[in-house]
Symmetry: C2
Subunit: 457 residues, 2 copies
């Protein structure tokens, strides 16, 4: 095979990173601080302590340490499924007839089916260390809930997952995976919380929303002794944990002297993208490279490409601190025909700031085109990708086809965040030719923008 | 970590075996030949040519070559998902408190979700090389059909999969994976074949059976130009292809000077077990080791532990050659409460012969105990196992617990053939406490034995 790079570059377990990279410490300007919605003032650690574990709050607010050690216990857990393979897409390249060299970092080879486990294990570990005995969270598509269930089974923590009711009904198999790992899965809204009962009384028969599930999970966490709430994306400490993706990818490429010209990631809450790009972005921020970064989002939920850079709530229930981010407004709801994840109204404050400052480009695709790319990828590279990941595949294929036109042999790296084994209902719609696209009108988006809180900053 | 063996031993791509090992060439006595049911005489190559590819027939009948080269094109495909990891089950060992050292060879890290891809790619490659343009097969649980669909997408072969109707209805997601890889999936019995129409006329509304699906697939293969039938287990050439599992496992263990005392595999048709044990069995047959081998089967379909060693048809439709094997009779049907695969009435002739000659032991387990082992494994080792694979897990745990009693630090290797992501209906029954066990009575078994053909041999 050409230039002797194997199909899959596996690092050894000794090469698993021993420290996460904190991209914020490389940024010239930090994103605006979280605000307490009650006071309009920056959140203090004490504001956050009832909700999040102490160590995670420290990580959330740390803008100075470039590297943060990964505890041995987390490294040991990582050894059960990491290092993940960095794959050279030889077969896809040949099918495209492109001179581009395409690599992907594949995070789907674990039972959670995605990169989510990287942060789930860290958050469960810090909870356990603090003497916490149970955690709560919400899940939509179910990858995050599955990952957290696995981590909690390992550390002996009780785990309560509020799963959006429609998703719980449509994806009963995801729910069973979580139950097999000992988690309690509750369809949200439920009668187990004050906020759930209120919503059920006001909207009998509602299918729920991620925002409602977050509010239920936070209510339980703050009203249960020794319990905390954990979140699977958006927040800075989640991006920090996910930097293990980028660090491994960079170490693998460095072995062969390869420098990516372009790094591509799908973007919902931003944790996979932020984690993948962190070490490469650090180099660029230090002026060592001019690597280009590309965020890919669904046209149906276009927070970066069509959102506003503003303070907003992180949940639709408006109970969280305010974050400065690209957002469609917490009142925005993606169209029901949208398959898979990437349906969050906002975007990681770190990714938002980097995008705002011109370090990241963004593009959006409609889902039928995304599934066409997914099918081509499955049939060439052999892996059935998650709908989320397929956004990055689509962008990588388009960039590779541009190279075919220009004759440039660019090196493209993208994040293949997970597998689509629990998304076959969406694949069926695609296979049947019944999948539809949706691009919100400006009027549709205005509904979300009208929900933005009135905050200067 | 103790004795410096990593959690996962990955070979490099250069270490993928370049030749399969043909365990038959090490056996002092061969299994009895296939018989033509019409003549009662051994099958000739010409008898088999209308059904199987020529090269596969040669492999099927080869008892002399100890090693058979793997074509470069197949090795290149293997590089997309192999070498598969050999995992040291440190976390499970600790949970059990056993001095035993447990290893498992994990074949589930590919989209087919199992070892089946190892033979699917070989069979598709030889078909393509012979100028065949389409293949047919049957699938029950769906792993084999998925693997063959992937291989056919890669080599540009048309692929028609007859899927047992009840399975097709209960596992629509498996069907969609195959469709995504371009296969045509037909619920069997269907009106696309003579045999299907006959069965539908006689049994309107039947849910079908593996035997009927085999008959339909063979009818189409033998009536379509440039088409052949392919089978995912039982046959000698399938075991040959699956020897890549054992060869990689042995190479990985050899790196650390580890010799297994016991090798365990689940057994349905026998291809995974046969492939895993091949190189270790070759050593034993040559008197180099006294490794013990253990086949694990469901108590509900106990071909080795309660079957007869006799000539039988390979399908319930009685259209195939007769094979000498341990069998429950082609008329035996496992109870409907049986989850997952391992529901074949017979057993690989090679495995049967080795068992008959005392080289392999066998044990059977009821499914509730198997799912208990699956849950323990998932919560410790992090991988949600297939129900089939979980039979091997259960036996490995029991053997490790025996070591705990005796204080012996045995080295146990088992095959983790796949993941259970498409088996969550069975996990739900287990999680809900509604899973039931079933052991056929002697009278139940007699029904199957009565279906055995009257053949001496």
């Amino acid at each position: 095979m050409q230039d002797k790079i194997p199909y899959k570059i596996y690092l050894s377990e000794d090469e698993i990173p021993r420290q996460w990279i904190n991209v914020k410490a490389f940024m010239k300007e930090q994103h605006a601080p979280f605000l307490n919605p009650a006071t309009g003032k920056p959140c203090t650690k004490d504001d956050l302590r009832p909700v999040f574990c102490d160590e995670l709050i420290d990580q959330e607010l740390d803008c100075t340490h470039k590297y943060i050690p990964i505890p041995d216990e987390i490294v040991d857990f990582y050894k059960m499924y990491r290092p993940s393979p960095l794959v050279r897409a030889y077969v896809l390249e040949k099918a495209l007839g492109t001179p581009a060299k395409i690599y992907y970092k594949f995070e789907g080879n674990n039972t959670s089916g995605s990169h989510k486990l990287n942060s789930a294990v860290a958050q469960a570990y810090y909870a356990k260390k603090q003497g916490i005995t149970s955690v709560t969270t919400e899940t939509g598509a179910g990858q995050w809930g599955t990952a957290l269930s696995m981590a909690c089974a390992f550390y002996g923590l009780d785990c309560k997952v509020y799963m959006v009711k429609t998703s719980s009904e449509q994806k009963p198999h995801r729910k069973e995976v979580m139950r097999t790992y000992g988690a309690t899965v509750i369809a949200s809204p439920s009668d187990t919380t004050e906020v759930g009962r209120t919503i059920l009384a006001e909207h009998p028969g509602t299918g729920g929303s991620l925002g409602c599930a977050i509010s239920e999970a936070i209510e339980v966490a703050t009203h249960t002794p020794n319990c905390r709430y954990v979140l699977g994306s958006v927040l800075d400490h989640v991006l920090l944990h996910q930097s293990v993706i980028g660090l491994e990818a960079k170490a693998a490429l460095d072995k062969y002297g390869v420098k990516p010209d372009l790094v591509i990631g799908c973007a919902g809450g931003g944790s996979n993208l932020g984690g993948l790009i962190s070490p490469f972005m650090a180099d660029r921020l230090e002026g060592k490279t001019d690597t280009r970064f590309l965020a890919v989002e669904p046209a149906s939920c276009p927070s970066l490409t069509r959102g506003k850079y503003a303070y907003d709530f992180c949940d639709t229930g408006k109970t969280t601190p305010l974050a400065k981010m690209y957002t469609l407004g917490s009142g925005f709801m993606p169209s029901p025909n949208h398959a898979g994840g990437l349906r969050y109204h906002g975007m990681s404050p770190v990714v938002s700031k980097l995008y705002h400052d011109g370090y990241i480009d963004a593009v959006s695709y409609e889902q039928t085109a995304v599934f066409q790319a997914a099918e081509q990828f499955a049939r060439t590279e052999g892996i059935l990708p998650a709908p989320e990941s397929s956004h990055a595949i689509k962008a990588a294929i388009d960039e590779a086809l541009k190279c075919k036109e220009t004759g440039e042999a660019k090196t493209i790296l993208f994040g293949l965040t997970g597998t689509g084994y629990f998304d076959m209902t969406a694949y069926k719609a695609f296979n049947d030719g019944t999948m539809t696209d949706y691009i919100p009108t400006d009027a549709d988006l205005q509904v979300g923008f009208d929900s933005l809180p009135k905050v200067e900053g």
